[in-house]
Amino acid sequence: MTRKIRPKSKDKYGLAIGIVGIAALLAYPYSGLGNDFTIGVVLTTMAYIILGSSWNLFCGYSGYISFGHVAFFGVGAYTSGLLMVEEGLGFLPAVVAGGILAAAVALPLAAVTIRLEGVSFAIILLVFAEFLRQITRTAKDTTGGANGLSLPPVSLELLYMSMIGLLIVTMGTTYLVTRSKVGFALQAIRDDESAARSIGVNTRWTKITVFVLSGFFTGLAGALIAPYWTFLTPSIGFSVQTSAEMMIMAMLGGLGTIFGPIIGAIVVSPVSNELSAQYPYISGILFGLLLVFIVYVAPEGVLRIFQERSITRYISGRYNAIRNGSDKSQSEEERDMRGD
């Protein structure tokens, strides 16, 4: 009997950690350890985890890097925001509508860009996100333009619990997709797209489906976190730095892993929020440096540590990468030398 989902043996650890994590998140607000401010930090971190994971869902596993994922974030945020403000829709239905519209935007985008190769794809998504930002800015009558959109307040408790719900759904879906046929097809595309196609993988359908899913979750996250910020402008909703942050989280943690973006988000989110509030320019420079750093030092992310046998080996491997331009780990170098 062929199973639809093929878990890996290490998944049970991940599941355990996940369950503990969710339980901790659920208990946190009631434990008296936090105040509104720290709960907000945790809330934003959860949103970032979702953003990083949904970016990673498509980009990490398919090898197609998207530079414009903030487009879906903005669509989700603006849609739900406008629905709440203009139509008086309730919070949860508005969020769902935001996600659906983001997915609806992702679908034709995927269809159009499906035939593009990696580099063109990345660029065009960046162009698309920027265009959405411009359109949102110039259509002032609908969206409030650069003056922004004021969102109705939503109770912190509702936001927090919905975010946990979204987190569970997103991570669950990521897990199911990556351990299913679609996930393997996606990774086959990453390894060698024409080879995948030649063995019968339906690359178009796979890419479109996962891309739309990724856009859906990104949009939901945007719709959920916007009311916490209570104010939305095109620069916030479609900020190119958010795309950069999604990329940084997934790459720092490790592309194509489930826990990678989580670690990345835990690192990036507090920095991003605290720093951007005080010194927005410094945070931009920092993230830029981080991107450059990731490319030269650790393109595979921090989770690579677990592949090496010790941390010192990981560090020397990274040093090796910068000096000699080779991405082989110490162990691999040794194996190569020995002629294995």
């Binding site: 990696g118 920027e130 950069a244 990329m247 991405d327």
Partner: protein
């Protein structure tokens, strides 16, 4: 009916946007064609060129035209430096995950964040205007007018494009560059020093960016974000025209420039963005390799 004056204005606007975009697209294509690297930071070089002129003008009273000439060697050297310090390392790296093109995209993206925010720190986000007397004057033609800065911008752009064309087709260096574009290994086998070609190409690209920046700064107010805006259009143009296809890029640039100008005149800014987006979508779906696929380098 529309009068000849407005028609001329639309034409001038289209030519202006088209020529600046063409210059940007050419700079991007040069680097992609020769090195297979995507330089998102090209826009920031443009922005720095524009702000360089602004700084020279406001601090030292250096006229933009003179400033442009002064900036040329400066940016050439800057390009060499970037290529030598950053890009070269990227090219020599043997990536396990992803490939060099993607990594160049990500790295230059990081560079954009750095440069843009440094500029914001130095110059703040308020628009700056370069208002140099002979340039802001207006030339009146029958029924319409054009500012000298616009005229200068269009002429300089065309001049640079012609120069670039001559460089690539009539000089030894140009031949070596084209050889590297076509097949790097074969070029090396034939004794071409590809390292030198890379360095010089990046220098030329940076210089083109700075010239475009000068043109932008004299024809419109500039902010630290202006580079990014132009590089986005530049990317649109090179992807639609076909990565590495030079003549294609120039044609697409002018076409988009005219379309943008016409739709701006007829329907306003929001429609222009949507229209360009739609055209881009259709063009990419039908020609994922780029339109005008018969174009030569």
């Amino acid at each position: 009916m529309v009068d000849i004056g407005s028609l001329a204005q639309v034409l001038i606007g289209g030519l202006l946007s088209g020529s600046i975009w063409a210059l940007v697209a050419l700079g991007l294509n040069l680097i992609y064609g020769v090195m297979r690297i995507i330089n998102i930071a090209h826009g920031e070089l443009l922005m720095l060129g524009g702000f360089g002129i602004y700084a020279l003008w406001t601090a030292y009273g250096v006229h933009p035209v003179l400033g442009m000439v002064l900036l040329i060697p400066l940016f050439f050297i800057l390009g060499l430096t970037i290529q030598y310090s950053l890009i070269k390392r990227l090219l020599e790296r043997d990536f396990r995950i992803g490939n060099t093109e993607m990594m160049s995209l990500i790295m230059t993206f990081g560079l954009v964040l750095i440069l843009q925010n440094v500029a914001r720190l130095i110059w703040s986000t308020r628009p700056k205007v370069v208002d140099a007397p002979p340039l802001s004057d207006v030339l009146r033609l029958s029924g319409t007018y054009i500012t000298y800065s616009q005229l200068l911008a269009i002429c300089t752009a065309v001049f640079c494009m012609v120069l670039l064309y001559l460089l690539m087709t009539r000089t030894e260096f140009g031949r070596a560059m084209r050889a590297t574009v076509q097949n790097k290994r074969m070029a090396e086998v034939n004794g071409i020093n590809t390292q030198r070609i890379y360095l010089i190409t990046f220098g030329i690209s940076a210089t083109l960016a700075s010239i475009a920046g000068v043109m932008v700064s004299v024809t419109q107010p500039i902010t630290p974000f202006v580079g990014f805006d132009f590089v986005i259009m530049g990317f649109l143009i090179i992807v639609v025209g076909g990565l590495g296809r030079f003549t294609s890029a120039v044609i697409v640039a002018f076409v988009l420039g005219m379309i943008g100008s016409i739709s701006l005149f007829a329907w306003g800014t929001a429609v222009r963005e949507i229209l360009v987006l739609l055209i881009m979508g259709v063009a990419l779906y039908v020609y994922p390799e780029g339109v005008l696929s018969e174009s030569r380098v």
